[in-house]
């Protein structure tokens, strides 16, 4: 089996709705696909006490994250009959209401696409070295914790 260079999943800034639309459009020629499953993560304006989250600043240990994402991708492809799987995660400052994660799984049938999409989201949240600093409107901050 040949070694493939891990795909870059990171994008600077928010993921635009037009990028997501284009991504869907690009699959038009792949007529073996019968179902897509898409997960979009959006920056939530959490309220903590009197403070509201204005944005999240994402950082990552990028090289390590890409290696681990490659392993996750191989495992997901081995487990589900997928046509393709795309993952995009934001880095940098993302305002509340913007999209920071886009996972897109496609398969001949819906169940594989939906299960693969969900499992990919769960695994990447648990396994990728990514951190988020929640910046409040008053410019103080708190490090985000995944639950």
């Amino acid at each position: 089996m040949q070694e493939k260079k891990p795909k870059n999943i990171f994008v600077q800034g928010a993921i635009a709705a037009s990028f997501i639309a284009d991504s869907i459009q690009k699959h038009k020629s792949q007529t073996g696909i019968g179902g897509h499953s898409i997960f979009l993560g959006q920056v939530r304006a959490d309220i903590m006490g009197e403070k509201k989250v204005a944005s999240i600043e994402y950082t990552a240990y990028e090289e390590m994250a890409l290696e681990i994402m490659h392993i996750i991708r191989e495992a997901i492809f081995a487990k589900y009959p997928l046509t393709c799987l795309h993952v995009h995660h934001s880095l940098g400052n993302i305002a509340a209401g913007e999209i920071c994660l886009f996972v897109f799984a496609s398969s001949a049938h819906r169940k594989a696409a939906m299960d693969a999409c969900g499992e990919t989201v769960e695994r990447l949240k648990a396994e990728l070295p990514i951190w988020g600093k929640e910046l409040f409107e008053d410019e103080t901050y708190k490090w985000k914790e995944n639950i």
């Binding site: 950082t59 240990y61 951190w131």
Partner: protein, 77 residues
């Protein structure tokens, strides 16, 4: 003998720096010992160590010029 230490997330608030060179540490236990004496707050915060991008839990020997990362709990997505 020196290693390149890179630091992420909340741990940067404790060390005040995202990267530093550490001298005279033969393994990850000695690294932790040196870090905890320099930054006492680190000992009460959870993190894992990655040596050359591999997470290690047991004490692990370090080589000259290794890149060692301190990783606090992940919060992607």
């Amino acid at each position: 003998m020196e290693i390149n230490l890179i630091i992420f997330g909340k741990l940067i608030d404790i060390t005040g720096s995202a990267a530093m060179t550490i001298k005279n540490v033969a393994d990850t236990a000695q690294l932790n010992e040196q870090l905890h004496s320099r930054y006492p707050a680190l000992s009460s915060y959870p993190y894992v160590i990655a040596v050359e991008q591999e997470i290690v839990h047991a004490n692990t020997p370090l080589k000259n010029k290794d890149t060692v990362a301190l990783l606090p709990p992940y919060a992607g997505g």
